[in-house]
């Protein structure tokens, strides 16, 4: 939901480009040739049934899942692979991969906070080790980010002392502190008790309003309907539908999308806009 004045005629910068990406796990082809573009300040929600490959697709954007064929470009640079002297494609080294995805932040379903550090400790760790900031600078930056997600008052708490929603907000702050250009969210609220989901979605909405480029794999159709610029429906490793929320939720629908939404609707009503 980003109101960007006068952008209709201006082509938006492509932040991530996926071309014919294929990912296999053993003999099983999970991603079957996907093309996708993520533009600057765009909020893209990826929806689909379990096992459709949506999380794997997101992880390919971060090279946490190493795609087998096709290309993923982040900021114009090929992610995960380079070419050797003979022009053959080889897996890039870890430093090279880090270089390409330096502006990509990720938020995980299981939060993945480091349990032996406080919230502040978690957020400033990368600022200290990767950005090599000094103690004061890192602390200040970390606190600022924690304030942004509403967790400054719990800076000295350990993850085990925080609720799920609070932990996820700290995890968002941790990724945000590194000032990424793109934020990837892998089912950020799926592990949360229903009453804690709201506070996390709130933070994400604010990020969207501030113009962050976001790719969100989610089951929260309300978020997709209200906040997304583009909704992507993936099933069995292929993108079956892609468009604005209106087009996806209310327009002419691919039969599998219809089935998916029908199943969802039977448990949730989300068309109230």
């Amino acid at each position: 939901m980003n109101e960007l004045p006068g952008t209709d005629s201006q082509p938006r910068e492509t932040m991530i480009q996926m071309r014919n990406v294929v990912k296999r796990f053993g003999a099983n082809e999970v991603i079957k040739g996907v093309d996708l573009e993520i533009h600057k300040s765009e909020v893209v929600c990826i929806i689909g049934p379990s096992g459709s490959g949506k999380s794997t697709l997101l992880r390919c954007m971060a090279f946490l899942a190493e795609y087998d064929a096709g290309e993923v470009f982040v900021g114009g640079e090929l992610l995960g692979y380079t070419h050797d002297r003979n022009g053959q494609r080889v897996r890039a080294s870890e430093p090279e991969i880090n270089q390409v995805r330096r502006n990509v932040g990720m938020v995980f379903q299981q939060f993945n906070l480091w349990p032996h550090m406080t919230a502040l400790g978690n957020v400033r760790e990368a600022l200290r080790r990767v950005r090599r900031m000094d103690k004061q600078g890192a602390n200040a930056q970390a606190m600022k980010t924690l304030e942004k997600v509403g967790m400054a008052h719990k800076a000295q708490s350990y993850p085990v002392q925080l609720s799920g929603g609070e932990q996820q907000r700290v995890a968002i702050a941790r990724a945000l502190a590194m000032e990424p250009h793109i934020m990837l969210f892998d089912e950020p609220t799926s592990s949360l008790d229903p009453e804690l989901v709201g506070e996390v979605l709130q933070v994400m909405k604010q990020l969207a309003r501030d113009g962050m480029t976001m790719v969100v794999v989610t089951h929260e159709m309300g978020f997709a309907a209200h906040v997304a610029d583009t909704v992507v429906f993936i099933d069995d490793g292929r993108i079956l539908a892609q468009g604005s929320p209106e087009a996806i939720f209310q327009g002419e629908q691919h039969p599998r999308l219809q089935q998916f939404l029908q199943n969802y609707l039977e448990r949730n009503a989300f068309w109230a806009r």
Binding site: N98, N112, E125
Partner: protein
């Protein structure tokens, strides 16, 4: 009963022997920890031969009885020109044997860290060394503390075997006293009690240590 009381007169001697047992065990454990850490690192290496060497080390030294390892060190080496004192043979044998167990314990600790935490570190750009030092080691140590305390207790018990090559620790001293007083039942009971007390104290210390660690940080 009176025999038990007369046995108490041997306590000063046993105290010295207990000190020897504890010292030998602690020194061996320190060596075992460093060696075990090295073996564990090799176990996770990307270089296949290093991994195989680590696996072989663990399987060999956990598969052959400590007594055999001790005898090997003490009796075989002289044929190669290396003459070790019984104390040196004892410490080396226990160190190397325990290192195999320590390596496996540490390996279990590292494998017990949820992989998602390492992914988060990668996404934030943290390099291998940073991740190891700041995220893996602190948590692995916390996870393995109970098993490491158990290893300390196992080494204290295993040290009784070095009596076989003549080291004057608790068991050897007990044998000497039994031979001179002809009261084996009483003396072995007493020495058993001494070992038991040492191990109980160590177990207590371990529990305290775990609690301390858990209070400061949580997992």
């Amino acid at each position: 009963m009176e025999t038990l009381l007369s046995m108490l007169s041997t306590l000063p001697l046993l105290a010295g022997a207990a000190f020897a047992t504890i010292s030998i065990s602690l020194v061996s454990l320190v060596f075992a920890f460093f060696l075990g850490t090295g073996i564990c690192a090799m176990r996770f290496s990307r270089v296949a031969p290093l991994r195989w060497l680590a696996i072989a080390h663990v399987r060999f030294f956990r598969g052959v009885p400590l007594l055999v390892q001790l005898l090997m060190l003490y009796y075989l080496l002289p044929s190669f020109g290396i003459n070790l004192s019984s104390l040196a043979a004892a410490i080396i044998a226990i160190s190397v044997c325990s290192s195999a167990y320590v390596a496996e314990i540490l390996r279990g600790g590292f494998l017990g860290i949820p992989p998602g935490q390492l992914e988060a570190a990668r996404m934030l750009g943290l390099g291998g060394l940073s991740t190891l030092a700041r995220i893996q080691v602190p948590q692995a140590l916390r996870l393995t503390l109970p098993a490491l305390v158990n290893e300390v207790i196992l080494v204290i018990k295993a040290s009784s075997l070095v009596s076989v090559v003549g080291v004057a620790e608790l068991t050897r001293t007990a044998q000497n006293i039994a031979a001179s007083t002809y009261k084996p039942l009483e003396i072995y009971f007493l020495v058993g009690a001494v070992y038991f007390v040492i191990n109980i104290l160590l177990a207590r210390l371990g529990v305290l240590g775990e609690r301390r660690l858990a209070k400061a940080h949580q997992s």
